[in-house]
């Protein structure tokens, strides 16, 4: 342990690390941030492999422990790939982060399997989960975690969790969250109360509301149709009565001409068709 600690004294701090990387990579280093004690270096995708190589081979850096590599959904801009490296000799951690070119449609990044053996499965997993293709990787297929014929990229935000879609959220049931009008109730907090619905659950509630709305619309539609049918029936009845009246009139006016009787017949058959 003592040896490790002695070398720890010479460890580079984040600024020095960034300066060192900039010295070698120049414009490829887009910036850096120390967040919650973690030093993250943002890179242009072109400098990705080179940065990893530097991190491993540069004696002052010596990031020998390959911790992990994974993707992060970056909304419209596509995906980030993050690699976490650790140095057993200096005790430093370096996070390399890059935005994968190709957006959401065709994300491609160079592979660092040549540099770190552990990147092999990590890149396969990233491919499996996000669909990021790693150029130079010996074989991303078959998919490592999902089944071979799985369709879609599960960790993308536009991939929805089937179990959540298949089952209604239990909290929207009467009488808890929706009032009679289908509005989400803003609850007044009570003792021991948990906070209101989550964002997701609000969406669910909205969904449920939409279903109720849909049902209402359908019901109204049904009612409207029923009313229409009733109106039609009434109309038909009226016409029938009119017809009967006409027939009665015709019967009464037996003396009417024969052509008038022929006119009445087609009108009757038309009505049958309409019904």
């Amino acid at each position: 342990m003592a040896g490790v600690l002695a070398r720890r004294d010479r460890a580079l701090n984040p600024e020095e690390t960034e300066a060192l990387l900039r010295e070698h990579l120049g414009e490829q280093v887009l910036g850096s941030v120390v967040e919650f004690g973690t030093f993250t270096c943002k890179l242009a995708p072109e400098g990705w492999v080179e940065a990893a190589r530097l991190a491993r081979d540069e004696p002052q850096l010596a990031y020998d422990l390959f911790d992990s590599l994974f993707g992060v959904d970056a909304r419209e801009e596509g995906f980030d790939v993050v690699a976490v490296l650790y140095s057993t000799s200096t005790g430093n951690r370096l996070v390399l982060r890059t935005r994968v070119p190709g957006g959401r449609d065709a994300p491609r990044l160079a592979s660092i399997t040549e540099i770190y053996r552990g990147a092999d499965w990590m890149e396969r997993e990233t491919y499996d989960m996000f669909g990021v293709v790693f150029d130079g990787h010996p074989g991303l297929e078959p998919r490592i975690l999902t089944v071979e014929n799985f369709e879609g990229w599960p960790l993308r935000k536009d991939f929805h969790l089937a179990s959540r879609a298949a089952k209604p959220w239990p909290g929207v049931k009467e009488p808890a969250e929706l009032d009679e009008d289908g509005n989400v109730i803003e609850r007044v907090p009570e003792i021991g109360d948990a906070p209101g619905p989550y964002e997701l659950d609000k969406a669910m509630a909205a969904q449920a509301k939409a279903v109720i709305e849909q049902e209402r619309v359908e019901r109204e539609e049904r009612e409207r149709k029923a009313a229409e049918r009733a109106a039609k029936a009434a109309e038909r009845q009226a016409r029938k009565e009119a017809k009967a009246r006409a027939a009665a009139e015709a019967a009464a006016a037996k003396a009417a001409a024969a052509e008038a009787d022929a006119d009445q017949q087609p009108a009757s058959s038309d009505e049958e068709d309409g019904a």
């Binding site: 919650f36 422990l65 057993t88 499965w121 297929e141 975690l145 960790l155 907090p189 948990a194 906070p195």
Partner: protein, 393 residues
């Protein structure tokens, strides 16, 4: 994925996963074909749904290809649909033998993002339970590794110990595997009365019984014949694979988060680390056994240090991690567990990456198996300690 150089050597021009045409090996009348032996997904040696495809020439392994994912449950996706309290109950299931450590990792990373002060007592109790959890886990592997080598008895002894420890932890947490005892900012409840006395007693008892394992397994000549020199892992290769935990310590790398990046109160106790020399199966197992001993040593120290006080902090109604990303690493029983928590400020994580020790450790298996015999494959599979749920998540 097999180690590529090996694959390239033996089956040039084939892609991983592709069915490899059988080749004639050897000359003249002794020419034989390679046999593909698929160990798993359901096989006694894989203790879980894990498959490893071996290419055999006789009983000698020419290539190995682990096939994982049979237990993939999409934890990282599920976590994105859950708040932190729910995630805590979720993560103690990916490595079901280290439930407490897993939830501890989540609690720590959320606390880190919230910059939350956790009461001292909570931290010490967390350490206590985490170390007991480590003992539990290691006992399991002591038993199972010996069982895989054909020694059935250590498993029973290990389970006897495990049962008592599980009962102890159940008294505090209510669970035997999935403790769900952590919460952001501390612990759910304080320890019940009598827990510490029982903990002291069990620690003493386990330390008394521990020499049995040394005698029965580690000192056994047959065991040594089966493990010494089997599957040696050089430190630089181990690091390149991201191998951690007892497997890395066996290779002689003094890397243990409790020492190198102390969390909780590990900087206030003495944490010894046993280092191996060759990184072979024997060293890996020895590291595991010594880790039990040292965990008990830490537990004894915790008994002496445990302060009085509260065990949790007042939480806001809704625990929301601030925007940003944080990485927390803890020493899980099987190696380094890392949680990368990226938050958009909402109640659920934007991305929770679980960097599990088993995933990285198992990656090194093809490298280790090259040129070994089938029984050595068992020895290597048993000594590169992994939990299948931890690989597949």
């Amino acid at each position: 994925m097999s180690d590529l150089s090996t694959r390239e050597k033996i089956h040039p021009g084939t892609a991983p996963g592709e069915d490899i045409a059988l080749e004639i090996v050897g000359d003249g009348d002794f020419a034989t074909t390679d046999m593909t032996l698929s160990i798993g997904p359901a096989h006694p040696a894989t203790h879980g749904v894990f498959r490893i495809v071996l290419e055999l020439n006789g009983e000698r392994i020419t290539a190995a290809r682990p096939v994982i994912g049979y237990m993939h449950r999409g934890f990282e996706k599920l976590a994105e649909y859950r708040d932190f309290r729910q995630i805590k109950a979720l993560v103690n299931r990916h490595d079901w033998l280290s439930g407490f450590s897993n939830e501890l990792g989540v609690a720590l990373v959320v606390e880190k993002m919230l910059e939350m002060e956790v009461p001292d007592r909570a931290q010490w109790i967390r350490m206590l339970i985490a170390e007991w959890n480590r003992v539990l886990n290691h006992l399991m592997f002591v038993g199972s590794f010996a069982l895989e080598l054909g020694a059935i008895t250590p498993m029973f002894y290990a389970f006897r110990e495990r049962d008592e420890i599980q009962y102890l932890l159940e008294a505090a947490t209510g669970g035997r595997l999935h403790f769900t005892y952590n919460q952001v900012g501390g612990l759910k409840l304080d320890l019940p009365k009598g827990f510490l006395a029982e903990s002291v007693r069990l620690s003493k008892l386990t330390q008394e019984r521990l020499p049995d394992y040394f005698d029965l397994v580690l000192g056994n000549e047959i065991f040594q014949a089966r493990t010494v020199g089997v599957g040696p892992l050089p430190p630089e290769v181990a690091l390149s694979f991201g191998v951690t935990g007892p497997t890395l310590q066996a290779a002689g790398v003094p890397e243990d988060s409790r020492v190198t990046e102390p969390y909780l109160k590990y900087d206030e106790v003495d944490v010894p680390v046993h280092l191996g020399e060759n990184g072979d199966s024997f060293d890996r197992f020895a590291c595991l056994l010594y880790r039990i001993q040292y965990s008990l040593h830490i537990i004894d120290q915790i008994h002496d240090h445990l302060p009085a006080g509260p065990v949790n902090t007042k939480l806001p109604k809704m625990v929301k991690a601030p925007e940003g990303a944080a990485y927390q690493r803890i020493e899980n029983p099987l190696g380094q567990l890392g949680y990368w928590l990226e938050s958009d400020g909402g109640r659920t994580p934007w991305r929770l990456k679980m960097r599990t020790p088993s995933f990285s450790n198992v990656q090194s298996i093809p490298y280790l198996l090259e040129g070994m015999l089938v029984p050595d494959a068992i020895s290597v599979l048993g000594s590169v300690f992994f939990v299948v749920g931890d690989i597949d998540r």
